[in-house]
């Protein structure tokens, strides 16, 4: 008899089985969720394990050493760190103003009929694989930069060290431009989300003061959203730092530190992509792993900052709208 005084039904035996199944299903879900924590540990551990040789040999000097010479087994990360930071910085300088302006255009000005198509185009831009940008970069962008934009920059701004020196086409600047194109969608879409979360009350208050459209945006929208937009830029930076294929294909891949943006450069991600399978000695491979660890460290820090900024922003704004 069951607790309610009826003959035990097949259903109540099934209940016993299902309690067991419930438990297992829960454990399975928990395990899957914990995989996420396991993955981050795995990534850190495998990279650390891969580079212990180089760590032991070079120590912290690895970061400051600017020579990368596989022939004599001497490795330093400085040119790559430099290349990664400079190309990402160029990308940000181009992409942040364009992305934020586009986000403002989409939220504050564009008529409904234009808005959706533009958003769709930007989403499609985000879907283009890195290697296709690289292909396009090699055969379309680089020749154009070499023959038109760079000579023009050279002749107008050549007095600056950034825009002097010989022009090859493949260059730090080309790398920065291609990365800019690739991080535009994420900067635009995250900024758009943030600008959209600005309460309308703010805008109305500004309009009530007799402000022009631009003043409303400056006073009501930007002053309110600038923290979040900064977060969007940092998120874009995180993506830029790790961009690999397209950069590898246009940056020139030379481990040099040069003031000129027309000179070829090299990034952490590109050198790994190019030399990993060719690494002949254990120390060489280990040095590449250490570059990977450096790259991971930088992107992790940047991403954590971005997530924290975006989180606090959305936390403070969602309650109000």
């Amino acid at each position: 008899m069951d607790p309610l005084g009826r003959p035990r039904s097949p259903a109540s035996q099934a209940a016993r089985g299902s309690r067991w199944a419930d438990r297992n299903f829960y454990l399975l879900a928990l395990l899957a969720a914990l995989t996420i924590l396991g993955l981050i540990a795995l990534v850190g551990w495998e990279l650390y394990r891969g580079c212990h040789l180089a760590l032991a040999k070079f120590g912290p000097a690895f970061l400051a050493n600017s020579s990368w010479d596989p022939v004599s087994d001497v490795y330093g990360a400085l040119p790559f760190i430099f290349g990664t930071l400079v190309s990402s910085l160029i990308a940000l300088i181009i992409a942040v103003p364009l992305g934020v302006a586009t986000a403002l255009f989409l939220t504050e000005m564009a008529p409904q009929a234009i808005r959706q198509p533009v958003i769709t185009v930007i989403e499609m831009l985000a879907a283009v694989p890195s290697v296709i940008f690289g292909l396009w970069g090699i055969f379309v962008l680089i020749p154009w930069l070499r023959d038109h934009l760079f000579p023009w920059l050279h002749s107008t701004l050549g007095f600056l060290p950034f825009f002097s020196g010989p022009i090859y086409g493949v260059s730090m600047l080309a790398g920065g431009i291609i990365v800019a194109i690739m991080i535009l969608p994420i900067i635009t879409s995250v900024s758009r989300e943030i600008i959209r979360s600005v309460p309308n009350l703010q805008r109305e208050a500004a309009y009530a003061l007799g402000s022009t459209h631009w003043e409303v945006i400056r006073i009501a929208v930007l002053s309110y959203a600038h923290r979040g937009i900064f977060g969007a830029a940092v998120l874009g930076l995180g993506r830029a730092l790790g961009e690999t294929m397209a950069v590898t294909m246009v940056i020139g891949n030379r481990p040099e530190i040069s003031a000129s943006l027309f000179a070829p450069g090299y990034t952490l991600a590109s050198v790994i992509a190019n030399e990993f399978t060719e690494a002949t000695s254990d120390l060489y491979l280990s040095a590449l792993f250490e570059l990977g660890l450096v790259l991971l460290g930088i992107t992790l820090i940047v991403n954590v900052i971005a997530q924290l900024m975006l989180r606090t922003f959305s936390g403070s704004s969602t309650g109000k709208t």
């Binding site: 607790p3 309610l4 299902s18």
Partner: protein, 280 residues
């Protein structure tokens, strides 16, 4: 458990007896729920205070009271639905046919199969057809027998007075029905697992008067076979379709009596204020 403490479950009283309204004061009713000193907390906030009540078998019991007085909380305690929310805690005893529903080791799912529930807003599963909606409880509880399923399908749809309207398109999505039909579909879904008790939390509050009338009619039919507990904001509804009525206020059971008595000569001044609409 001692055999003598369980009551045999009848397949239903003879129709003639059940259709006849209960005469006030009749005490022969067998208790379905026996609740004593039942209290419930949401975290630190106490929502029910020492509720003691006996709910009769094969009767319709209405629960009324102002918003926030704990009606839903009490109803959900009857089939342990409140346990879904983390941080709830209860005290006291709650028995169904003599068996403690909160006995350690008794699965809440087991309790809920015996004590069905219909919600304020009809909620047929959106991905399922009418047929699947009715049978989902049986199928997911492991019943495969085709003939039995077919029998329950028709039986519960007839019982919920929906059969004639849907018998020709059982494969249409459940959500394609009208609001009132959807609510009756939810009743059919609850009935298909053959519970002993049916709990209804304001089942008509989202329906128009015509659909409400149909559900009320249906509740009268259900009494033949089930014990029904219904929460309602509508005092006419309580008066029309219940045998006994419980008035809750601030988490306490204030008065519990035969419906006619409670509405015509309430013992408690608070009850009187509430039923005469002079409340708050």
């Amino acid at each position: 458990m001692p055999e003598n403490s369980t009551l045999p479950i009848e397949s239903g009283p003879a129709p003639a007896e059940a259709i006849k309204p209960q005469s006030p004061g009749q005490t022969a009713d067998a208790p379905a729920f026996d609740v004593s000193n039942f209290s419930l907390w949401y975290g630190t906030r106490q929502a029910l205070h020492d509720v003691t009540i006996q709910i009769s078998k094969n009767r319709v019991t209405a629960i009324i009271g102002p918003s926030g007085c704990g009606k839903s909380t009490f109803l959900r305690a009857l089939n342990r639905m409140h346990e879904v929310m983390p941080g709830t805690r209860m005290q006291g005893s709650l028995k169904l046919f003599g068996e403690d529903l909160y006995r350690p080791g008794l699965d809440a799912a087991e309790v809920r199969r015996r004590v069905g529930m219909v919600f304020q807003k009809s909620n047929p599963f959106p991905t399922m057809s009418i047929r699947e909606n009715v049978l989902v409880g049986l199928k997911l509880n492991g019943i495969r027998d085709r003939a039995l399923l077919q029998e329950r399908l028709e039986g519960s749809l007839r019982m919920s007075a929906l059969w004639d309207e849907v018998k020709d398109h059982l494969n249409r999505p459940g959500v394609s029905l009208s609001g009132g039909q959807q609510q009756r579909l939810c009743i059919a879904r609850a009935l298909a697992v053959e519970p002993d008790v049916l709990l209804m939390d304001e089942p008509c509050s989202a329906l128009d008067p015509l659909a409400t009338a149909r559900i009320e009619e249906l509740i009268q039919q259900l009494r033949l076979r089930y014990t029904v507990v219904i929460v309602t904001h509508n005092m006419q509804q309580a008066a029309r379709c219940s045998d006994r009525t419980a008035f809750f206020y601030l988490g306490r059971l204030i008065e519990y009596a035969d419906t006619r008595v409670l509405f015509t000569s309430p013992a408690n001044p608070q009850t009187e204020a509430y039923v005469s609409g002079r409340f708050g």
